[in-house]
Symmetry: D2
Subunit: 114 residues, 4 copies
């Protein structure tokens, strides 16, 4: 269904879902098994999963408030990337990269509208 | 990341996300604008969005309990499809089809494991 | 369990849950049945449900990033209250009041930390 | 707002929220800090958080499908209690108790309606 007219928003939704999926899969199938289980890391990964979903959902609903959530999402994705980058681990580096890309896309959505 | 070894589970995750996305997009960008706003329809669409997400998340986490959620998901997707099919509306028929496909895939996941 | 040392945060969690519960219950059991079903109203109620939950969850997890989500929550609760207040309806006025109280509490959490 | 006529359903919603809150708070503020961080335990706690929320939401929306979700919730709460009980830890025993109470309440809701 072609409800998302704006290609930039469509791309940002895709980034948010990709980031959410990567973080959830990494957390439960990699981090916990490989010693990346410090409370602060598990927390920020969980925060990232939740905010990416919220941002994607706001945009999917074409909410006029999506910029508010995208702004929050950009901040939290960056924090999550910071945590992943401390680990010197290929898988976590890839996760960090996806978080950064999502943050950049969300930042653009937020600045365009607010 | 290649955390999902089982191709059937991977396909079921895809069906759940597709169903969740279609239902959410249809509900907020089509149903509410086109008179498909009876409380029972909005409710079952919302139920479907929530259970598809839960089922996809259980599988993404490789939860040993995913079959329990897939079984619930199959029932609720079928109920949502029933509601969409009463509407004699091309867009809702397409939504119903996606719900049926998700229900079939979830039923298979549930039966294979429990 | 006494994991929440800060009484202000504990109070804010309570406000967020109260707001989320009131919005969800009002939306599905009152608004849809009483003609308050304009897409923009359903959207902002849904946005409010989602952000209140996220803010409550961030605080429940003692996330260092909770202020980011509380700031977003305050903005969205105010927007939801605005929508409810246009309706000249006792039930919706009460919903608006609860949204305003949640917004005030979230604003305080956000400003105290960032 | 008095939208929940049925006192049994109202009680079950309360049990689900209590269980969800206890599991989330225990997981992020106790388990991860005290060595209860095996992937299977973190997974089942996360499953329990998600299904309790879904069951509470279905009932809050007065969904005719709430029994389907309550049935799933009962199974998953029991599995979560099993995991908590293996730990010989006062805090986790209390968590297990709350899971069992929620499971019993959900089972009653499920059997009454299906």
């Amino acid at each position: 269904m072609h409800h998302h007219a704006d290609p930039k928003m469509h791309d940002c939704i895709t980034q948010c879902w990709s980031c959410r999926d990567t973080c959830q899969s990494s957390l439960f199938n990699y981090c916990l098994q490989n010693g990346h289980n410090a409370p602060d890391h598990v927390r920020v990964m969980t925060d990232c999963i939740q905010v990416c979903q919220a941002a994607a959902d706001f945009m999917t609903r074409n909410s006029p408030l999506h910029a508010v959530m995208c702004r929050a999402c950009a901040e939290i994705c960056d924090a999550c990337a910071n945590s992943c980058e401390t680990m010197d681990d290929t898988e976590m580096s890839r996760c960090a990269e996806i978080c950064r890309r999502c943050a950049a896309s969300c930042r653009e959505m937020a600045s365009g509208t607010i």
